[in-house]
Symmetry: C2
Subunit: 347 residues, 2 copies
């Protein structure tokens, strides 16, 4: 293994996910030769700290990628659609956090615990899946390998940070207004660009992203389509209901799976306990189970409330929680970058 | 139909549900001859308003039920277990909001929209189901009648008011503490009588009530067992995950059903729109769907997010919301009382 280091760019470095990517690159001591922080013109010129040094943020342009070996994108789908092809032209391997390339059949969609081997089939871009999909497939992979997966029915309890800094501010603002007996005036959620807004404080809003023509939201369709692609099996039946709740960090998911065969619950627990990236918290006697407030700030996916469907010998209930900005975005992207770097160092 | 009026007692009249029962008896102009407000010794002596008059609350004792024709109980399971038999001895018909008699095979478990005909099979007590069960079966009944029901998979988003006034106060207190940057100190939820407490503000807690030996909570087992009893079909497969979220009033439910046959989605919508006690809110183009904050204070059950499972021609997703203190408790009980009174007036 060489000591090769890499020219790295982070696109969207001033956003909520970009900030976590920088923190993780530093914490993991990623083998960086040069680090370029890129953003929209609006944020260009601002300075961010990396390993104690000030780094000036530059506007992301096609030329920015000259000489860049690895770029991590999290600046929105439009930026990725415009700049990923430019970066690829210049020889950059792009890890894209947006939905721009996820369903592109030529782009691998990767959760390292599930399908790391797909990374090297890339044609310049590796897509990072949707946050709510990542934590679910990471938890279900050991069960797919052992029993097969026939069907997934998932209901989510998603944090506002998935909708960005403005949504976090909106929840804080609405909460303070209600506590002080003032009017709430929803302004951002459920979807900033749509006309109707709903109160998120002390509420449960069953809409994340816009609606598609079939009555599902885009968020729900992401969970359905991305799950099949990542797990490499179009025959898995998936249906999803995605709900925003007043939590700041950490998506929770109530997941029902129909396995391909009958199972032993102790074996399920053992498979999950021994799987990479998973932490099982499942001790009813001590009221221990995964909680969003405990998962916040951690890289792992937390699994608990393991219960057999009393009416179906192949049915299993799970409660899956993870920090949507970390394993759901920044950490998964940095994991992919580490695998790319390690392969190059071994070559 | 006669103008017969009734001697009525409300047990637990000072509690959150009791308060709503009184309000509804007044609003519905229930045919009351005499009204007795009963409570624990602790609350006895306090005065409550009914139709502008002060009524003094008395301690509930066996003798309290002498001459009482209809009693509505919502003072906890222990009070019902002790006093319902005493009331029955004295000829009182008891409508019990607690879990004390729900699974008693001799006690009807009634949601009027589903199985009103069972009311008159009572042996003195009619049980009011669990709040989260009531709203679900009310919404599913028209589908059961038309298509049959094979399986229900439900994940709940339950309000803290289901755990009483102390839980509401706890959510308020924790929210203010977090807004002010102070420590949270959980004290009531998830279960006041258990040692471990978890933060409910800005969190999702997958425990309502204690755990049973099979890994499900009692709340989940109520949904499973009560649904089969009310719908009159032990062959319906039911599994449930019950979760407390930081909402004050109104339970939301993500419900997946496998119907007995293929269905037409427009017909499903029409069946629900024409069913008693249901309001369909399902207009994705206008971002309209049921919300806890809209359902609070209303008697109806609200249904929306109707979507076909894209991978199963018999699978249907629904989002069901209702005020847990009203249809989930007080209103369902008062509906039963009205049916009993009307039958007596017609006799």
């Amino acid at each position: 293994m060489s000591n090769e280091t890499f020219n790295v760019a982070v696109v969207g470095s001033t956003g909520a996910v970009g900030e976590q990517i920088l923190r993780l690159l530093e914490e993991r001591n990623f083998p960086i030769k040069t680090l370029k922080l890129l953003s929209s013109a609006r944020s260009a010129g601002s300075k961010l700290k990396f390993k104690g040094e000030d780094v000036t943020v530059e506007e992301a342009k096609p030329e920015s990628f000259e000489g860049v070996q690895i770029a991590l994108f999290s600046a929105g789908g439009d930026v990725s659609k415009a700049l990923v092809p430019e970066a690829i032209k210049r020889g950059t391997v792009c890890i894209d956090n947006t939905s721009a390339f996820r369903m592109d059949p030529t782009a691998p969609l990767v959760v390292p615990e599930v399908n790391a081997e797909k990374i090297f089939e890339h044609n310049g871009v590796i897509a990072n899946p949707n946050c709510s999909t990542i934590q679910m497939v990471a938890a279900l992979k050991p069960l797919q390998d052992r029993y097969g997966l026939k069907r997934i029915i998932v209901s989510t309890y998603q944090a506002v940070s998935g909708s960005g800094a403005k949504a976090i501010a909106e929840l804080n603002r609405q909460t303070k207004a209600i506590v002080n007996g003032e009017p709430v005036n929803p302004d951002v959620l459920p979807v900033a660009s749509l006309p109707v807004k709903h109160q998120i404080a002390f509420n449960a809003v069953p809409q994340i992203d816009k609606f598609t023509d079939n009555g599902f939201t885009y968020e729900e369709m992401k969970m359905i389509n991305e799950t099949k692609k990542i797990m490499g099996d179009e025959s898995i039946q998936v249906t999803a209901t995605c709900v925003r709740i007043p939590v700041v960090y950490g998506h929770s998911e109530s997941v029902y799976v129909e396995l391909g065969s009958e199972y032993d619950l102790a074996e399920v627990r053992s498979l999950l306990e021994n799987a990479p990236g998973l932490t099982v918290i499942d001790d009813p006697a001590n009221q221990a189970y995964p909680l969003a407030t405990d998962a916040a700030g951690k890289n792992d996916v937390f699994v608990g409330r393991l219960r057999r469907d009393l009416d179906s010998p192949t049915g299993l209930n799970l409660w899956i929680v993870s920090d949507n900005l970390l394993k759901g975005a920044a950490w998964n992207a940095v994991q992919i970058a580490e695998i790319i770097a390690a392969r190059s160092q071994q070559a």
